[in-house]
């Protein structure tokens, strides 16, 4: 079984750090809301992009003017794709 983890707070929250400790192979992480600021932080993301697929919610990146500097290892997706990802994984674990 695989999980989609969503993270909605900025790096100050250390939510990703908590999440990483309990992810399994095959899981994916989706940054939404203030979580998208993680997508501009090579240091924060370095360790995870090798092990799990990482997404960011495009609407939230556009809103915050962060899309242009989003790392290549992050795939920007829209809300419709967010719904699809929920279907592709067996469950959704929200970190907020």
């Amino acid at each position: 079984m695989s999980s989609l983890h969503t993270i909605n707070r900025s790096p100050d929250s250390n939510l990703l750090e908590s999440c990483i400790k309990v992810v399994s192979a095959g899981d994916a992480i989706l940054f939404i809301e203030d979580g998208v600021y993680y997508c501009n932080s090579p240091i924060k993301l370095k360790t995870i992009t090798e092990t799990v697929k990482v997404y960011g919610l495009r609407e939230d990146m556009l809103t915050r003017a962060t899309l242009a500097k989003t790392m290549d290892s992050v795939e920007a997706i829209d809300t419709a794709r967010f719904v699809e990802l929920c279907c592709e994984h067996d469950k959704v674990v929200s970190w907020f």
Binding site: N8, I32, E33, D34, E59, D60, T79, A80, F82, V83, E84, C86, C87, K91, V92, S94, F96
Partner: protein
Amino acid sequence: MKFSLVIYAAPYSTESAATALRFAKSLVLQGHELYRLFFFGDGVHNASKLTVVAQDEINLQQQWSELIEEHNIDSVICVSSALRRGVLDQTEAKRHEFGIASAHESSEVAGLGQLVDAILHSDRVVNFG
């Protein structure tokens, strides 16, 4: 697929209630079933009816209510969270002798049993807080 959403976030305070609304709209648009909305904790304020917003802002409560009615979605406001926050449907308003219900008619006050029911009947439960 059958989805249920649990919403903990109050409208306007954080982005989460708006994210949940966009997610809900998107999933019904894609032909998925929204089995139940469960508003919990501060999330119950999303069902408030007695709200007035500036003309150039979106009225989240109104939009929730329209979505719920348009797609005939089962929408539950958790009783323990709702009563203490003043979000009462017709039944509760009458029971506690208030003149008017403060919740949109599209949502109903009920207990956590409805959350358990949603867990058991949904393919996916997604939390927004």
